[in-house]
Amino acid sequence: MGTMHWEFSVTGGNFSGAGEAASKIKNILKKLGIAYEVIRRVSIASYEAEMNITAYADEGKLLVDIDPLEINITASDRGPGIPDIDKAMQEGFSTATPAIREMGFGAGMGLPNIQRATDWMVINSTVGKGTEIKFKIYLKT
């Protein structure tokens, strides 16, 4: 009895289907009987990560690993990458196009929200290639 894995693919630009992966992850955690507060934090972080792929990348996926101690999620995409990660981590900073903002996204809160909701987070990005965001949430505090 070790770890369980899931993989959810996310299509860039598909706003109508966005949030599905985060929703599936949430329902897995409910089935496993994880505490509501933990589920809430995972939901926020995975939703923001999924929305980032939807809004900026061509395609990507969420990899989810769950064991009895922690949840690890890796959101990786093929896309434009983030030129200045420190800047992207600032609240309110966004490179979203007017079209994306029109749909109610791009407030510059995505990455800061992930950081706030998780216990650990790291971003690797190559401009012109893609981005990988890894984060961890402990099941017991």
Binding site: M1, A22, S23, K30, L32, Y36, I39
Partner: protein, 392 residues
């Protein structure tokens, strides 16, 4: 722990057709040995299965009309939606007089309680403002409250800790009657005329408080039948303060949000639409909404399974009636308001989760089960035939 349910199965009528397992919002029904069985921990008494059963095998248990005779003093409190069940031919004042004809000593419309609760909700939302979760979800529909307890347990803190108009009305009339007549409150029967089984359940098993002031519930359709059958013999002798248009409006969708004076209100009706919205709220959605009215039945209480009239027609009728009634009688309203202490409006106890969501209390076991489910599902063709008797 076992829970009381007003929704029951008549086994002889059930053909095991699987219609109900597909529409049940909490996956509470299984077909076993060719018959439906309801899982008590999961059932929220919403009545969807009653609505959907082609064989009328699902029923809601409510009181017989003669049950009221057991009480020395009998009070009827019809739901705001009640008056929507009569066409123009039936004068509402005469319809309500039918309660006295039947043997009730007194009648007070729950619409009056709704009017009072509307003010209390407005005060609650405005005074606590930013301290409240978003959205605050109305506690008026007991099926929705139970849905949250079992399927969205993380959202119990969003439920408004407010008594329902039914409870406020029942408590008030019971106390006033005891004062007026000197009869012991235990010999006073307060009967709610209900549009739905969820209300029948909530008086036996109250949420957020230890007992209900309602003695029993009578199905709207039973009362409608009685009034219509005896209409010619009913003498119009009603001398009561009627509810206002605001209070009566609670009987249909959007009535509650119209009655509450705050910005950013939203209304959702139909149990499956409610589920979808709660799903989104769980994921952090609808944060711009301050108050959410959520009703299990399409159209609100006018769409309850114990109603007679078509829900859309009933809504039209309710709107016409409430227009005729007009604004609240301020003098009377203020008097009643001054007689009810503020704290009476609030639920005494916290609403607790009753989760059915996890596969096992032990996480290792839950993981093992989930793995088994996933490997089984991957081998199956994904056709929802229902022949295993379980929801998919």
């Amino acid at each position: 722990m076992s829970y009381f349910h007003s929704v029951k199965l008549i086994e002889e009528k059930c053909k095991g057709c699987t219609h109900c397992i597909r529409t049940c919002p909490t996956e509470a029904i299984r077909i076993r040995n060719g018959k439906a069985t309801i899982i008590g921990d999961r059932c929220i008494d919403c009545g969807e299965c009653i609505r959907t059963c082609p064989n009328s095998a699902k029923i809601a248990v409510t009181e017989q009309l003669n049950e009221i005779q057991k009480y020395k003093y009998k009070i009827a409190i019809p739901a705001p939606s009640f008056v929507s069940q009569f066409s123009r031919r039936y004068r509402i004042e005469k319809v309500l007089s039918g309660f006295l004809f039947m043997g009730f000593d007194e009648i007070m419309e729950v619409g009056l309680g709704a009017d009072l609760v509307s003010v209390a909700i407005t005060e609650y939302l405005n005074s606590l403002g930013a301290l409240l979760p978003r959205p605050v979800i109305s506690s008026a529909c007991p099926a929705v409250v139970r849905l949250i307890q079992v399927r969205y347990p993380g959202l119990v803190g969003n439920i408004m800790p407010m008594q329902s108009p039914m409870e406020i009305t029942a408590r008030y009339v019971r106390r006033k009657a005891a004062e007026k007549t000197g009869i012991d409150p235990s010999e006073i029967g307060v009967f709610f005329i209900t549009p739905c089984p969820a209300k029948a359940t909530v008086i036996k098993q109250p949420i957020g408080t230890d007992h209900s002031n309602v003695t029993g519930v009578i199905a709207t359709r039973d009362m409608v039948n009685f009034v219509k059958l005896n209409f010619e013999r009913v003498v119009e002798n009603l001398d009561i303060q009627r509810a206002s248009s605001i209070g009566i409006g609670w009987g249909r969708r959007e009535g509650e949000i119209e009655a509450v004076d705050i910005p950013n209100r939203l209304s959702v009706d139909g149990i499956h639409h409610v589920s979808k919205m709660l799903e989104k709220i769980e994921e952090g959605g609808f944060r711009n909404i301050r108050f959410l009215e959520a009703q299990a039945c399409v159209g609100g209480c006018v769409g309850g399974v114990l109603m007679v009239e078509n829900p859309f027609m009933a809504k039209l009728k309710l709107d016409l009636v409430s227009k005729e009634i007009g604004d609240r009688n301020i003098e009377f309203f203020k008097k009643v308001q001054s007689e009810i202490p503020k704290e009476d409006y609030y639920l005494r106890d916290k609403i607790l989760p009753r989760p059915i969501t996890s596969l096992s209390p032990d996480m290792h076991e839950a993981m093992r089960k989930l793995e088994e489910i996933e490997s089984l599902t991957s081998e199956l063709p994904g056709i929802d035939c229902g022949s295993c008797g379980c929801p998919t």
